[in-house]
């Protein structure tokens, strides 16, 4: 059983979701939750999460917190950006799709980076083919757009690498 870790962490994650849904700590509710979690984890072969127990190291947790904080600040910036664009009389746009290399091995990590880029200022992930990520800009950055995109992707990848690898 290679993926027993991911299966166990799927069970734990589903149990947390179950408790959040029911908000009830009686024996019967918890027992039913465990039964359902095990059933789902077995039938989806632990597909929900990868091994979460690897995260339980102080350094990784700290890196995760740093990543989340960075992501949230970027998201707030993104909204201020959208706000100022929308409220202008003429919406200023100079759109373009730029490719960049993504230097992260972990598949789930790539998904996380793609989703994070969608929620950061002025960028939207259009496609993810092999190692290349294609990003749509509301208005292309001044100067070298390719280098700017690469910098953006690397900024996320560097922070996420500390969490995952």
């Amino acid at each position: 059983m290679k993926n027993i870790g991911s299966m166990l962490s799927t069970i734990v994650a589903l149990m947390v979701i179950w408790v959040c849904l029911t908000l009830n700590f009686s024996i019967s509710e918890l027992g039913l939750g465990i039964v359902f979690s095990v059933l789902i984890a077995v039938s989806t072969r632990g597909g929900f999460t990868s091994n979460l127990f690897r995260l339980l190291k102080p350094a990784r947790l700290a890196a995760l917190l740093v990543y989340i904080f960075f992501f949230l600040s970027q998201m707030v910036k993104a909204n201020i950006d959208v706000l100022f664009r929308v409220l202008r009389p003429v919406v200023p746009v100079r759109p373009g799709i730029v490719g960049a290399d993504i230097g992260l091995r972990n598949l789930r990590g790539r998904i996380i980076i793609a989703n994070s880029i969608t929620l950061t200022p002025g960028t939207l992930t259009v496609d993810l083919i092999d190692d290349r990520i294609y990003v749509h800009w509301i208005s292309l950055p001044d100067g070298d757009a390719t280098a700017e995109t690469q910098k953006l992707v690397d900024g996320f990848a560097k922070r996420l690498e500390k969490v995952l690898d």
Partner: protein, 228 residues
């Protein structure tokens, strides 16, 4: 042209009839008829906090059995027709992100569907919406690939088992209390806790499995073919 005029006349006539009739449905401040009994006595008689589920499963359980049979006929017809005339649908290859999502998200969606089914007597939900949610998780798995998942071969067996157990639960009532689908064979318990309301959670589970497998087999009959 003549079609439009005829249609317009028909729509206007029906509209006039409805506008004349609907205001006669009383704008009442009270519940009338049998609904009054269900509202006032429902929780004591069936033990179910959710009165809608009490009506569906306990008071009108036989009707629900009929409805499930109608649903079974419709979905079986779809599957039968599509197995006689296979019409495969070409879809493009999913992107990497969607393919990964279809492996990540089915687990919580399944849990949500099972929650709706298991808490049918406590909170909104029940067999029908829970089954639809579980079928949507199956659809998500299909959307993330270009073929039909292998588990769809067992759908017919699961569905028949669920239908059979609906009938068996009904006959349990006949054996014990002399009445088909009697809810009280397990006692009502305390309303508001998970283990209460007699047969209602079990029958909801059966209905949920049946609806889920029927809708899933409809989705699986809309088979895909890989391609670009």
């Amino acid at each position: 042209m003549i079609r439009s005029i005829f249609g317009l006349i028909l729509v206007l006539v029906l509209g006039a009839i409805m506008v004349a009739v609907v205001p006669d449905i009383e704008y009442s401040e009270e519940i009338h008829g049998v609904g009054l009994h269900y509202t006032s006595q429902g929780m004591q008689e069936t033990g179910s906090a959710n009165l809608v589920t009490a009506v569906i499963v306990a008071y009108r359980g036989l009707d629900t059995l009929g409805e499930v049979v109608v649903l079974f006929c419709a979905s079986t017809s779809v599957v039968l027709i599509l197995s006689l005339y296979p019409l495969s649908l070409k879809v493009s290859r999913p992107s990497f992100i969607v393919a990964q999502t279809s492996r990540l998200l089915p687990a919580p969606i399944l849990l949500l569907g099972l929650y709706l089914i298991a808490h049918s007597h406590l909170s909104p939900g029940g067999g029908f919406p829970g089954g639809a949610v579980i079928a949507s998780a199956f659809l998500l798995v299909m959307l993330g690939g270009t073929g039909v998942p292998g588990s769809s071969r067992n759908l017919a067996a699961v569905e028949s088992l669920a239908g059979l157990s609906f009938g068996l639960l009904g006959f349990w009532g006949v054996m014990k209390l002399g009445q088909f689908l009697n809810n009280l064979v397990l006692g009502t318990g305390t309303p508001g806790s998970l283990v209460s309301a007699g047969l209602i959670p079990l029958i909801s589970l059966v209905i949920g499995i049946k609806v889920a497998s029927e809708l899933s087999s409809v989705f699986a009959a809309f088979r895909y073919k890989g391609g670009h």
